[in-house]
Each structure stands twice: as structure tokens, then as C-alpha cells.
Symmetry: C2
Subunit: 337 residues, 2 copies
DNA sequence: TCTTTTTTTGCACACGTGTGCAATGTTCAT
DNA sequence: ATGAACATTGCACACGTGTGCAAAAAAAGA
């Protein structure tokens, strides 16, 4: 009588098929020993009753829940949402399921998110932003929760980091500006101060200093379009106006470009060259045609899921390095050669 | 010895605190009867061991998993990702957790997504796009999975629909064009043919017909920026070029605007007025300043989560109507009055 | 046909938790 | 001091599943 209670269980199916409950369990367990005959009887009964294996109970006994937590802030941001799309797709393809946990920008909420992941016995947590406190990281390790840290540093045991060549990309950006004939350089960033942002900032500044070039530098607010607008206004109001701005994020770059065009009537790239980072979808829109560095989201997703599937192949901390290739469009003078 | 196995359980905590396992369970169950003294002993031991309640086991026994599935396609789209952000936030605030399931645009993948939701004994599934087949919908009902359908029609028992005043908004768009002095009207939409898109299309066309006005009508591809570009080219190549385009989606509108500006050198709103729908973030960017209708995402999220919390207050099918207010910017001539 | 090998099946236990029930300990009014 | 009312605690069962183990059945070999 699975009728009006809640959900139908293996016992119900077994009763209807006239077999033991174990036979039902084995039918839905790949590689278990069931005869063709009972298998088909079970499948028929399951179909008729609308039976679905309870993954919670299965995870309870087999210690494999198939759950992976995605933890991050600013989930609706273009780059972040794209990354989430890729990760969920690849996790599903590998038979897992993603739970999505929203944090604000404070690190402490990352900690409570991780605790939530532990409560649901997630196999792993992918941290997209913010840094777990090291004590929590230890807690995760003790509870068998593996950690994937994207664009963070300072990993602990039982976790991977996935990192990009941020500093290198920033150096390429600088070289591109110089090749285009730009001389009054500027750097625009947010105040978020995440490791990847810092690498981009420092990469750009260090290279400029090595070449003895001054850089106009502004940092402002969160990483958003509005911050970009404000950054653009601040930079372009300066006495000697920059003719090239490296923005540590495409969102900032879009804001800077709009400020230049609509509030200073400048033409891009004639009056101002701009380079961003992330290659969000809007960067390819005609209104921006932004030269930028492409986040290798597919590769990041593949690397993360592959590492999860590797079992305990490498138990120590690991670092995976990926590269963000330049995507040349029309926001910098010349053709990039 | 919780040491090197997997995770620490209530039994371990009980042993360390010198109490029964039931006491541990009660300590972490709000409203259960525990003395101050044992409670603190338990909490101390739990802290020391890094104990986290196993929500899977808890859900198994109490039939309340706290899991809600979000199911949809095009997860990285601005409107979709914003909705997901709101839903995850509100679900978390109500003590639940969201699992995110990606589908492609075919309805059959929605069905397998729902089965996945059942397997994890989700309390409810929020369907953001695509339509579950009615047999699957029945399966959900039988397994106690409640359904929230956003901008779909044809609901079954034990489910809510959340719908917008799409047709009404389309009529307002038409009226705004006329008030601005536009006469050569056009409609741009994708071929997705979802209920909300159809309502917007038909609302616009029906109102135009009632007033005896012809409408240039194009439908093309999926709902994306690229489709908008192509739609813009098609419409603006016509012999008598439209001076107003209602786009059923902001993404389409952005494409149409860029086509008009960068491929036909038209000025907006002087040569062409544009109205969109959704109010994605980019609509407010200076490059677009798009007049559009705001998706009440916060209200949608609140309505969905409230309905979940209502228990079985209303068991029959329900429909919640929300309105999308107009957001007046600068892509239509005049000031909207 | 009889023995040996292999496959299939059911029983029973385990996973980690919530909770009814009875027993025990505590408070309070009389 | 005594009984009643009450708070606290432990036992044991239940939730739905996977799987080792032994029994049974089937297949294979002689």
C-alpha cells in the first residue's frame, strides 16, 4: 500500500514483484548478481509503482552520496554563473549532483556553508570565492569533505587549488598596450583583494616598474559594473588622462568603457584602449568588443571533476595551473601584432 | 575512535560526553527535552570532535530532507542566474538547501531531472524552464514531490504556478510606442515558444490588430544575444524600416540595439525605439539604457518559498499572479508620459 | 545419474538519525 | 515527610538502503 503515505520503497516493489527486497536492491545496483528473470519482474513492478531509489539511504550505507557543494558569492555574476553552469553540467555527467550555497563576501559565511556541506555529507566542496578559515578546513578534512579551491591560495591537505596565470596575463596586457603605442597607463581594480585580483594588479605594476613606466592606479568598491563606472570617472577626470586602462575584471572594464564613451565622449580605442579579464559574454557583444583574457571555464570544470573522480590517487595538496588565453577584439588600437 | 574512518557520528559524541546517543540527538533537535547540564556536555564533546548532524539520516527518518531542486536550462543567462541567486538565498534563509539541475532545452531532460529530484527525496522542485510531461508530473505527486512551475501553464495537483502579466505588459509596450509617435511597429522574438514568450507576442499582436496597426514580425533561433543581432539585421533590412521594436526578452533587445547601432548606424531612440522584457542587469548599463519590464525576481522567490512553508494549507493546484512593472529608461522617444 | 562448480536468492546486519515509552530523578505543594 | 506533578534519560524501534554469508537452485562435468 504505497498509496497515500509518502514515497514508494524497495519493500513495496519487492512485494509486488514477489521477490525479496534484496533482489530489488541488487537490480538497481550495477554489477550485482540478479537473474534476467527476476530483474525484469522487479523492473516491471518498479515501473508500475513509480519507484525511485532513495539516494539518501543509499548514501548513508555506501558512504557515497554523490553530492558536491558549490560555494560562492555573487552567484548571478556573468563569470560566476558560467562557471556554475559548467560545473553542474560536468557533475551531472559524472552521475553526481550539485548543491548550491550562497555566501556573502565575508569569509565567515564560507565557513557556515562548508558546515552545511558536511551535514549533507557532500563528497566535496568547490569554493568559488572567499577563503575558509584554516580550522574549518581541518574540520572538512576530518569529516572526509574534499576541497576544491578555485583561484585561492593557501590550500591544506586533501584539497586542490586551481589557479590561473594571472600575473603573466597582466604582463601580456601591458606589452599589448605598449605595442599599440599607448604611453599613459592606468590600472583599475576593485577593493575585493582576492588572490587572483592581486596577482593581476601586481603583475601589471611590477612589469611597468621594471620598464620604468608610471601607472595611474585606482581601486574602488566591489567587483561590479558600477565600480567600473566610478573608476572610469575618477581616472578620466585626472589632469593627464590615461590612454590605456587594464581592468582586472570584464565587469569593471564594461563600466570604464561606458564612462569613457557616455560621460567623456571618448572613442575606444582611438582615445582610450581597454583590456579586461574573464571574457564574460558581454565582452563579445558589439557594444564592447572588449579585448580580454578568457577564463578557461570548461577546463576548470573538467579539472575539478576529474580530480574528484581520481579517488585518493594523490592525497597531498595539489595545485593545477591553467592558462587564460588572450582574446583579441577591438578595444585596443592596432591588431595586436 | 572517530579518527581515520570517515565522519564522526552521534555515537562518538555520546561516548565522549558520557551520555546516551539519544541525548545527543535531542541536543540538536530544537524543542526536545534536555537538561542544561547534559546539553553543554554534549555541545562541548561535539565541538571537540567536529561533529555535524547527518542531514541525510535525519531526512530519512523525519521525512523532511530540506532539499529543494532547482531545474532549468540556460543557467548562465542573466535573468535565469539572478532568479537562481534569489531562490538559493531564500531557501537557505528558511533552513533549506538547493540542488541545481541543468537541463538542455528539451522537455525530456526535465523529466530525468525530476526523477533525480525524487531520488534525493527533495521536498519540492522549482521548474524554471521546460515542461514536465504529465505522466512524470503524476509520478512526482505520488512520491510527494511538490512542484513549483515558473511561467509555465498546465499545472497538476500539488503544484503551484507563478505567472506574470505578460500580455498586459506587451499592451503597455505598444501604447508606449504609440505615445512616442512611433508608427512602423515590429515584434522580435525567439522560436522558443515558451508560454510567457507566447503571451508577450500575442498580447502585442492582438492589441495592434485591435487598433488596426500592422506589425512586422520576426522569430528566430534560441533566446540569446546572437538571435537578437540576427533579428535586428532582418528587421532593419526591410524596405520600410520599423521605428519601434518590441523584443520579448532583454537579451534579444540588446542584440537588436547593437545591430541597429553598429551595423546600420542608427541612433536610439531617435531612429529606433526599443522595449525589452526581464530587466536584466545589462539593460541598466549606459550602453543600453533599455526601457523594459522588470521581472519581480524577489517576489517570485518569496512566493515560491512561502508556498513551500505553507505545508499543505492549499492542496489543490494554485496560481500566483505577479506583475512586471515597467522600468523607463532611454530607449524610447519621449519621457513615457 | 551423481558430484562439483557456479549462479541466484533470502536473511540479517549495518549506516546515522528521530522519537514513543517507560523508568528514573527532581521539584513542589501539602 | 509524603505524594503528586514534572523534567530528564535510556532503551529500542523505525527509516530505506547495500552487502556478506550461507542456503538453495541451476549448470556443468564425469
Amino acid at each position: 500500500m504505497p498509496g497515500r503515505k509518502n514515497s514508494v520503497s524497495a519493500k513495496d516493489v519487492a512485494a509486488r514483484a514477489g521477490v525479496s527486497r534484496a533482489a530489488v536492491s541488487r537490480t538497481f545496483t550495477p554489477g550485482a548478481s540478479v537473474s534476467k528473470e527476476t530483474r525484469s519482474k522487479v523492473l516491471e513492478a518498479a515501473e508500475a509503482l513509480g519507484y525511485q531509489v532513495n539516494h539518501l539511504a543509499r548514501g548513508l550505507i555506501s558512504r557515497k552520496t554523490g553530492i558536491v557543494a558549490l560555494i560562492g558569492a555573487d552567484l548571478a555574476t556573468p563569470y560566476r554563473s558560467e562557471l556554475i553552469r559548467v560545473l553542474t553540467e560536468r557533475l551531472q555527467a559524472s552521475g553526481r549532483v550539485a548543491i548550491l550555497i550562497n555566501t556573502d563576501r565575508s569569509d565567515s559565511t564560507v565557513d557556515v556553508a562548508l558546515q552545511q556541506a558536511i551535514r549533507y555529507r557532500a563528497e566535496a566542496a568547490v569554493v568559488l570565492s572567499g577563503m575558509p578559515e584554516s580550522s574549518i578546513s581541518e574540520l572538512c578534512h576530518r569529516n572526509g569533505l574534499r576541497l576544491v579551491l578555485i583561484n585561492r591560495d593557501d590550500a591544506h591537505s586533501g584539497s586542490v587549488q586551481i589557479r590561473l596565470n594571472d600575473a603573466e596575463a597582466a604582463r601580456v596586457a601591458l606589452a599589448s598596450f605598449l605595442r599599440a603605442g599607448c604611453r599613459r597607463l592606468a590600472l583599475a581594480s576593485s577593493q575585493a583583494g582576492t588572490p587572483s585580483l592581486l596577482d593581476r594588479e601586481n603583475g601589471f605594476l611590477a612589469e611597468a616598474e621594471k620598464r620604468g613606466l608610471p601607472v595611474l592606479c585606482e581601486r574602488l568598491g566591489p567587483t561590479s559594473y558600477e565600480s567600473g563606472l566610478a573608476l572610469g570617472e575618477r581616472l578620466l577626470m585626472r589632469a593627464e588622462r590615461p590612454d590605456a586602462v587594464f581592468c582586472t575584471t570584464d565587469l569593471l572594464a564594461c563600466g570604464v568603457m561606458d564612462a569613457a564613451r557616455h560621460r567623456f565622449s571618448l572613442s575606444i580605442p582611438n582615445d582610450l584602449s581597454v583590456i579586461g579579464f574573464d571574457d564574460i559574454e558581454q565582452a563579445s557583444w558589439d557594444a564592447y568588443a572588449l579585448t580580454t583574457f578568457r577564463q578557461p571555464v570548461e577546463e576548470i570544470g573538467a579539472a575539478a571533476v576529474d580530480w574528484l573522480s581520481d579517488g585518493d590517487a594523490a592525497d597531498g595538496p595539489r595545485i593545477i595551473h591553467l592558462t587564460a588565453p588572450m582574446s583579441w577584439r577591438k578595444s585596443v588600437r592596432g591588431n595586436g601584432k
